[in-house]
Symmetry: C2
Subunit: 321 residues, 2 copies
Amino acid sequence: MRYRQIDVQGAAERIAPYVRRTPVLHSASLDRLAGATLHLKAENLQRTGSFKPRGAFNAMLQMAPDDLTRGVVSVSSGNHAQAVALAARELGSRAVIVVPEDANPVKIAAARDLGAEIVTGGVTQENRERFVRELMAERGLPLIHPFDDDRVIAGQATIGLELLEDVDQPDVLLVPIGGGGLLAGVSAAVRDRWTTTRIIAVEPSGADDFHRSRQEGSRVRLDKAPTTICDGVRSLEVGERNWSILQETVDDSVVIEDTAVLETMELIWTRLRTVVEPSGALATAALLSGAVRADTAVAILSGGNVDLNAWAAQSRTTRRT
Amino acid sequence: MRYRQIDVQGAAERIAPYVRRTPVLHSASLDRLAGATLHLKAENLQRTGSFKPRGAFNAMLQMAPDDLTRGVVSVSSGNHAQAVALAARELGSRAVIVVPEDANPVKIAAARDLGAEIVTGGVTQENRERFVRELMAERGLPLIHPFDDDRVIAGQATIGLELLEDVDQPDVLLVPIGGGGLLAGVSAAVRDRWTTTRIIAVEPSGADDFHRSRQEGSRVRLDKAPTTICDGVRSLEVGERNWSILQETVDDSVVIEDTAVLETMELIWTRLRTVVEPSGALATAALLSGAVRADTAVAILSGGNVDLNAWAAQSRTTRRT
């Protein structure tokens, strides 16, 4: 099985000095609303506010020292950009990051503050891969892909190792999916231990390529830019390496409307008093919206870099009055 | 000295089974903005989302069992209501709570969910004391005052004990003040150990009775209802017992504008990724707004029960565009 080749243990040892071991949060009041016992892995409290440093550090720590010093290129709508910028700063490297023009400005400002060079002019979800290839050729720098890289997948998988230590086997494990780095990693780490757990991919309806891929039995690529408030999962398709793992490890996928994501995000803010971004609320929304039913669930709060201006505007237009 | 009569150690032992030992949070990014090393005591993560259960449990655990069973009366704009409701439920009592009509609806709903009887019709900040006296006489029930009670002060003081264990003596200790229960308690607990620390009361400009009381040397009572988004500190005057302690323990007081509170609240949400209410951001705002300068500071995040609807509306009107 392909997923067993992911070196989770090696990644855990490699990145331990650089990342936080995040807590699993619980709220009796959310449990009542969900009708389930709900354990939430708080990667919003990870360094830079998302799980992404796990993968970025694990990839960059495996580069040859000379290559690392010259720098790396990456592409990100935000959270991976901050992670690569942080790893570059702490490992003596330089980061050049291609960012789509519709990216979350809060995330981009944070990556720039960490010292990354941001390339954004004319970049869209559709053409960004070409921009990256040109930049790599021009500068002679390697790519730290946001998800389609076994080193990155192994880094994100360390979340699964921590979950195995911190919670009992749940009925369902809910993980948000964009490119599939987080889900491929976490599912690879827990699949052989949580044998009866249903592992469920959670996607916003405006970026449902993985759900459709599972229905068709092969990778579907969206033919237009995703439309969703979940800016952390706006990829056009899952990665090739990710897809090969996900076919082995994932039991199901569900699609959630943005309105349900927004409601769940606000419930997590007010009941758990922890700040998650829309993508960070996505997995929990699967349970709170009723799309998934279970007695015990683990959901990953994947990030907490929220644009409050955008939220206040969004809240005005979509809020039930 | 009056403050040394507060039985902090007894309170700590009494309430330990019922309250959380809250963490002290830190953010490098907030430190940079503040130009100081800032330790934030996260009472927003206390049960019911504020420090209030410490005082409510400590008071009610000292009642005679028969009296406790008959029930208690209290008065609160929100957080103390939830605390008394929780203590009543867990200690086999009943809570009847008088609530001003302008109270935070989120907090009141939470108190009702915990089983409290809420009396609100016609109650204002100005006349609520009369309502309470009538209710006590009518039902024959004792009062659990939100702040003017040594048992309540001792309960809140347990925060100070935890701070003595968790942080080194800071240059300044910043505590929000409404009726003065939190500040009287915390300052009583730390005063003899943190001898060089400046203990500073932080008040919103729309409810500056303590600041004016210090200037005049005697308790000032506001002659109209406070106008501030900080709904946790909308008292007309500090308590008599509180005033007697605060005169001995407090070094200074500062007054903060609501706009600075709102900005700080949003910074805490986005940088620390923890949800505080306006009153919960008040103490930190003293440092971030520049009203207080220090190299090391401890501030208390007193609560996290925010009304998102009110915030979104507020944010629209006061936000710098």
